[in-house]
């Protein structure tokens, strides 16, 4: 199969969905002429024109807020907020409007709305351009949250999102846009709530998502050389998340390490740990471990940022501590 980048997988998925569904349009900062800051909407303006690929002013509140109104009036907006850190600027539109309308209006409105938003550290971009805030959105009933870690999932989850009938926070990772992987040319769907087992193993379960899946796989390779067999689970969507796959893996390996790039306190790892504690406590042979960023803002200095981020060494160390 051909290989393409994560960014290309997204633009290809968007183009295929837009050809099929005239209600879909794109709006965001630099999504048109530039083709997206990370080139995930490249080529779309040329194919679909400025009515359906709309470069917006710097106006996150109106980008998210107008999309809620357009979706309520029957369109299927796929908007881009340039960085996860900017979601704070349009939080009312997401928290109180998009997430609530279907329920609050007694099921009258279906918001077919996708908010694409990149996040992640490692670019020396400091405290306002690096945060991993996915847990915020998992805490809001009414939203769904996807977070692909491969080009294949990026396209398949996006195709699923664009035919879903709910508001979706579709998180992409900056570090992954240039990663290549096998992606079918035709349309296909990756379902919500179905994790991928990236590596099968018997001694320890590693759960992660986004960029950290790749760090977790690197750590699993390291431990394999020490004779330890790791099962690596990529959640792919955080809301809903695949409890069944995680719990059945923990029942097999009896050990769980959760890895995320977000800061520790109330990160999504806390939800996973609590659920496994409730549902599979009797299967555990060791305490659940979380490998996360510390509870600090993200620093600029490369030395400090590297110390902030989890990596294969810190993950491997946490795994060894359970054996």
């Amino acid at each position: 199969m051909r290989t393409i980048t994560y960014a290309k997988a997204i633009s290809e998925g968007l183009a295929q969905a837009m050809r099929r569904d005239p209600r879909i349009y794109i709006a965001g900062e630099d999504v048109g002429i530039v083709g997206g800051t990370f080139l995930a909407t490249q080529g779309l303006l040329a194919e679909f024109g400025p009515e359906r690929v709309r470069d917006t002013p710097i106006t996150e509140t109106a980008i998210a807020g107008h999309a809620v109104g357009a979706a309520a009036a029957g369109m299927r907006p796929c908007i881009e907020i340039m960085w996860m850190d900017f979601m704070g600027v349009c939080m009312d539109e997401i928290l109180n409007q998009a997430a609530k309308m279907h329920y609050m209006f007694g099921g009258q409105i279906e918001l077919n709305l996708v908010i694409r938003v990149p996040e992640g550290a490692g670019f020396r971009a400091a405290a306002q351009h690096s945060q991993s805030l996915e847990a915020f959105f998992t805490h809001i009933p009414g939203l769904k949250v996807a977070f692909p870690s491969t080009p294949y999932d990026a396209k398949g989850l996006l195709m699923s999102s664009l035919c879903n009938r709910n508001p979706i926070i579709f998180i992409e990772h900056f570090q992954l846009y240039g990663w290549k992987g096998e992606v079918p040319e035709e349309e296909y769907l990756v379902p919500f709530g179905k994790a991928a087992i990236r590596r099968e193993g018997t001694d320890i379960t590693l759960v992660s998502w986004g960029w950290m899946v790749h760090k977790a796989l690197a750590a699993a390779n390291q431990l394999a050389q020490e004779g330890i067999s790791t099962e690596v689970i990529d959640l792919r969507t955080l809301k809903p998340w695949d409890q069944e796959t995680v719990i059945s893996s923990v029942r097999k390996t009896k050990r769980l390490v959760i890895v995320h790039e977000a800061v520790r306190m109330n990160g999504f790892g806390a939800e996973i740990a609590a659920t496994v504690g409730e549902e599979a406590f009797d299967s555990l042979d060791a305490p659940i471990k979380r490998v996360t960023a510390p509870d600090t803002p993200i620093p600029f200095s490369p030395v400090l940022e590297d110390a902030f981020l989890p990596n294969e060494l810190t993950i491997a160390e946490a795994m060894r501590s359970l054996l």
Partner: protein, 320 residues
Amino acid sequence: MELDRDLLLGLYSTMVKIRTFEMEAAELFASSLIPGFVHLYAGEEAIATGVCAHLSASDYIASTHRGHGHLIAKGGNLNRMMAELFAKRTGYCKGKGGSMHIADVSIGILGANGIVGASLPIATGAGLACKLKGEGAISVCFFGDGASNRGTFHESLNLASAWELPVVYVCENNYYAISSCQRVAMAIQDIAERATGYGIPGVSVDGNDVLAVFEAAGEAVKRARTGNGASLLVANTWRHRGHFEGEPELYRDQEEHKLWLAKDPIPRFEAQLIERGIATTEDLRAIDRNWQDEVRQAVLFAEESPDPAPDELYQDVYAE
């Protein structure tokens, strides 16, 4: 302006319909029959009435926490509205929204809203949907003087003017954002001046004069429908009640209050109708009685309707 009798009586009828509903809601709330909060539209009826008279079911409106008047003027069903105030399963939102969140998507009502200023981007997006669909529908945004100080006002009017969207922004200036008076909340007196910053028309009218509102809204609606973009219409008015029912209203001067009560849009329009020979007092009383009956029916409907069952809590979180 020459208007036909049916239209004029229709304007009167809609204003009375709103007032009757609101005064009934006030009593029901005072008798603890309605849970939560209600923010009443009494006193401001001329605005929703004069604007919505230009709209059809395929046009959109986005409303506010003080939304009953907009919903009624846009054609909302009194039974389902009242049942929603009573938190009943037969209400517009199956008892999950209440006064602040009533919507009727089937006739373009994209909801009352509990967040001040939230209607602005929503109406803007509905305007974009109208433009992209190209079927001649438009979008109207209701909001207050308080919301005009929020960032959503700026971002929405800027986007709508840059994109030439068919949206009419209707600012209902009742001079008080809860307790903060307009003169301490902004340095200008005429909110319509703000339109200049977006290169769109901005007009201020007497919001207690239904014909003035009707005429100015007609211009703005025509502009939107003919592809000439957005406008800002400011209607200056007064709420007869507190910010919400039961509020002590420590901030409003009683003299000012009396002055505005004398400008009540309903008796004022009634006098015009009689003076111009459009209707007799008896004609108008018949209209009044009709809405008293309808509102009474709505209360009965609400009272007799079932509560939601506890497990309905889990329904409609997601569209499946």
